[in-house]
C-alpha cells in the first residue's frame, strides 16, 4: 500500500465536485408549485416541439414546475419514466404517445392516484382527457371545400388510408359529404403505398388515373386525407400537362411543402392546419381544471383547426 498520492487526491476532488453538482441539481428541483411532467418519445419532431413549448409557456403563467422528459423514440422508457414519476409523486403527467403502448405506465400512475393527460395522444379510460384536433372536422372542411368549388357535380378522386384510425375517420367524413351530393361521383378511392412517404406512389397512382381519364373535365377534384398524396397528385397533374383543367386538390395537415404549394395558387388549393400551440396551451388549461378539482365530462377536448388557402398560406 503506497501513501496518498497527488493523483488520489485529484480523484477525490473530482468525485466531490460531481457529487456537489448533482446535489445542486437536486436542490434546484425542490422549488414550490405543482409538479407536472411531460413525457414524450417524439420531442425532436417539429409538431411536438410546438405543443411542448406552448405547454411550458402556459405552465409558467400557472406557476408550475414542468419537467419535460424525452425518451428519444424509446416507448418502453416512457413506461419506465412514468413509473419513476409515480414513485416520485408528481401532481400530473402529460403524455404524447399512443396510450395503447404504455398501459403499464398508466397503471402505475393510476395506482399512485396521479392524473394523466394526453397531448394529441389518444383516448384511454385511464387518461383524464386527450387534447387534440378534430379529424372529423378537418376532413369536413376540405371535403366541403371540394364540393363547393366544383359546384356539387363531377368526378372526384379520393386518397385515403383506412388502416390508420386517425386517417380512416377523415375518409369516412369525405365519403359522407360526397355521397350527400347526388351529382358527385367518386371515380376512385385510392390507398397509396406509404412506405416511401406516400408522395411517389400517390403520383404513380394518379398518373394511371389521369391516363384512364384523358378527357379534360373528366376529373374535377382530388381529395386527399393528408398532404403527401395531394402533393403526389399535383406532381402527376403537372407532369401530364393538365394543370390548366382546373382540377381542385386538397390535403390535410398543412405541412410546409403543402403550404408552399397552396401559396403558389396552383391546383393544390386547400389544406388544414392543426393549432399545435393551441393544443399545448389547452392541455395545460385542462390539467389546471382537473387539479382544481373539476371533473371533466368528455375525455376528448378538441382545439379548432384552420383551413389554409392561398389567402392565408403565407402567414
Amino acid at each position: 500500500m503506497t501513501g496518498l498520492t497527488r493523483r488520489d487526491i485529484g480523484r477525490r476532488i473530482a468525485g466531490l465536485t460531481l457529487a456537489t453538482g448533482l446535489a445542486t441539481l437536486g436542490t434546484a428541483a425542490f422549488a414550490a408549485g405543482e409538479k407536472v411532467a411531460v413525457v414524450t418519445p417524439y420531442l425532436s419532431q417539429p409538431g411536438t416541439q410546438f405543443y411542448v413549448e406552448a405547454f411550458q409557456a402556459r405552465a409558467k403563467e400557472l406557476g408550475w414546475e414542468v419537467n419535460v422528459i424525452d425518451t428519444a423514440g424509446d416507448v418502453a422508457a416512457v413506461i419506465s419514466r412514468m413509473e419513476d414519476l409515480a414513485t416520485q409523486g408528481v401532481d400530473a403527467i402529460v403524455l404524447n404517445v399512443d396510450p395503447a403502448q404504455v398501459g403499464a405506465g398508466l397503471d402505475a400512475a393510476a395506482a399512485a392516484g396521479i392524473p394523466v393527460f394526453g397531448m394529441d395522444a389518444g383516448t384511454d379510460p385511464r387518461i383524464k382527457a386527450n387534447v387534440t384536433s378534430n379529424g372529423y372536422a378537418m376532413a369536413a372542411e376540405t371535403a366541403v371545400y371540394v364540393a363547393n368549388r366544383i359546384g356539387g357535380a363531377g368526378n372526384v378522386v379520393m386518397f385515403v388510408f383506412d388502416a390508420f384510425p386517425p386517417v380512416q375517420v377523415r375518409g369516412a367524413i369525405a365519403d359522407a359529404v360526397f355521397a350527400n351530393h347526388p351529382d358527385i361521383t367518386v371515380l376512385d378511392r385510392v390507398t397509396p403505398d406509404v412506405s416511401d412517404g406516400g408522395i411517389a406512389d400517390s403520383r404513380a397512382k394518379m398518373e394511371a388515373i389521369l391516363a384512364a381519364n384523358p378527357e379534360p373535365g373528366s376529373i374535377k377534384a382530388v381529395w386527399a386525407a393528408w398532404d403527401q398524396p395531394a402533393l403526389g397528385a399535383l406532381q402527376a397533374i403537372e407532369a401530364a400537362g393538365r394543370q390548366g383543367e382546373g382540377i381542385v386538390i386538397t390535403g390535410i395537415d398543412a405541412n410546409p411543402q403543402a403550404r408552399e404549394a397552396v401559396a403558389t395558387g396552383g391546383n393544390f388549393e386547400a389544406t388544414v392546419a392543426q393549432d399545435f400551440a393551441g393544443i399545448g396551451a389547452t392541455t395545460a388549461d385542462t390539467v389546471a381544471r382537473v387539479l382544481a378539482g373539476e371533473t371533466l365530462k368528455s375525455n376528448v377536448i378538441y382545439v379548432p383547426t384552420r383551413l389554409i388557402t392561398s389567402a392565408n398560406a403565407q402567414e
Binding site: 409538479k35 411532467a37 419537467n67 424525452d70 423514440g73 424509446d74 413509473e83 399512443d98
Partner: protein, 323 residues
C-alpha cells in the same frame, strides 16, 4: 492505495450514487417498490448486456443486438397477426435470434471479418428485415394477444404494502434466470474458461488446443438469442411491436459491460459486474427523473459517469504499472 482504488473505486462510486439518491429522495428512492420498479425497467437491458458479456469476454462485440431485439418483437407480432398460438410465435422469434447470432458468428469466426464491420452490416440487415416484416408499421391493439401483454405486468405476489399489492415482476425473474444461466456458463464451465482464454490471447489459446473458431462462432448465438429474448420482453412491456423499438438497447448494453469491467479484479467483463453496470445506469435514470433533472442533462450526466468510472479504472491500472 492505488490498488485499493483500482479494485474498489468504481464500486465505491456506484455505492455513492445510490447513497446520494437515498439522501436526496428520502421517501421514495430506497423503497422496495422503487427497486422492484428499477429491476423491471432494467430487465431487457440486463438480458442484452449479460449475453453481450459472453462475446466481450473474447474481446469481440455485437452491434446488431438492438436491431435483433426490434426484429424479434416484430416477428412475434406478425406471427400473432397470422393467428398462430403464442408459444409458436415466441419460438419463431427466438429461432430468428439464434440464426441471426450464428450468422454473426460465421462472419466473425469463419470468414474472419472484424466484429465491428460484420455486426454493423448485420445490424443494417436485421433492421431492414424488421421494416420488411412489419411493413414499417407499429403492430398493437387486438393483434397482440392479451396473455402476451399481461406477462410483462404479472409477477409473484409479495404481499401488500400501503394497501397496494406488491409484485415481484415477471420480467425481473426472467432477467435473473438469464443472468444466472450465463453466469453458470461463463464462470463455472470449461466452455466459459475457454472463452476467457481466447480473450486473453487467441493465438495462445489456439496453440493450447482450444477450438477458437468453433467457440467464437457459438458464442455469438448467446447475443442473438439474448437480443431476441429482450425484444420479446420489450414487446410484451409496451404491448406492441415496431421495427425500431429495441434499437437503443445496443449502445447502453455495451456501455454497461464497460462500466462493469471497471469493478472487476482482472479488468475483464464478468456477468455480475455487467449487472452492476446496468443497475448503475438504471439508478441514474430513475433517480434523476425523480429529481426532475432535465432529460438532456440526464443523458450528459450518465455519459459523464461512465467516463469518470472508466478513467478511474484506467488511472488505477496505470498507477499499479508505475509502482
Amino acid at each position: 492505495m492505488a490498488s485499493f482504488l483500482r479494485h474498489y473505486g468504481s464500486l465505491i462510486g456506484m455505492a455513492s450514487i445510490v447513497l446520494f439518491f437515498w439522501i436526496a429522495l428520502p421517501d421514495t428512492f430506497m423503497t422496495l417498490r422503487n427497486w422492484l420498479n428499477i429491476s423491471q425497467q432494467l430487465s431487457m437491458l440486463v438480458v442484452v448486456a449479460v449475453t453481450m458479456t459472453v462475446v466481450m469476454v473474447m474481446g469481440d462485440f455485437d452491434l446488431s443486438v438492438g436491431a435483433m431485439a426490434s426484429l424479434s418483437g416484430v416477428v412475434a407480432a406478425v406471427l400473432f397477426t397470422q393467428g398462430l398460438p403464442v408459444p409458436v410465435a415466441l419460438a419463431g422469434a427466438l429461432a430468428v435470434g439464434l440464426l441471426g447470432g450464428l450468422a454473426n458468428g460465421v462472419l466473425v469466426s469463419l470468414l474472419g471479418i472484424l466484429p465491428f464491420v460484420a455486426t454493423l452490416a448485420t445490424l443494417t440487415m436485421f433492421s431492414g428485415a424488421a421494416f420488411l416484416v412489419s411493413g414499417g408499421k407499429t403492430i398493437f391493439g387486438r393483434d397482440i394477444p392479451q396473455g402476451f401483454a399481461d406477462f410483462a405486468r404479472s409477477g409473484l405476489p409479495l404481499g401488500t404494502w400501503d394497501g397496494k399489492p406488491v409484485l415481484f415482476p415477471a420480467l425481473t425473474l426472467l432477467a435473473a434466470a438469464v443472468t444466472f444461466a450465463v453466469w453458470l456458463v461463463l464462470e463455472h464451465t470449461l466452455y466459459g474458461r475457454r472463452l476467457y482464454a481466447i480473450g486473453g490471447n487467441a493465438e495462445a489459446a489456439r496453440l493450447a488446443g482450444v477450438r477458437v473458431t468453433a467457440l467464437r462462432l457459438s458464442a455469438f448465438a448467446f447475443t442473438g438469442v439474448g437480443a431476441a429474448v429482450a425484444g420479446l420482453m420489450y414487446a410484451s412491456r409496451v404491448a406492441s411491436a415496431n421495427p425500431v423499438q429495441g434499437d437503443g438497447l445496443m449502445l447502453t448494453a455495451i456501455a454497461a459491460v464497460f462500466l462493469g469491467m471497471t469493478v472487476t479484479r482482472d479488468g475483464q467483463p464478468h456477468v455480475l459486474a455487467t449487472v452492476a453496470g446496468v443497475v448503475t445506469l438504471g439508478v441514474m435514470d430513475n433517480g434523476l427523473t425523480q429529481l426532475q433533472v432535465d432529460s438532456y442533462v440526464r443523458q450528459v450526466l450518465v455519459g459523464a459517469i461512465i467516463l469518470v468510472a472508466v478513467s478511474i479504472s484506467a488511472l488505477g491500472r496505470r498507477a499499479i504499472r508505475l509502482r
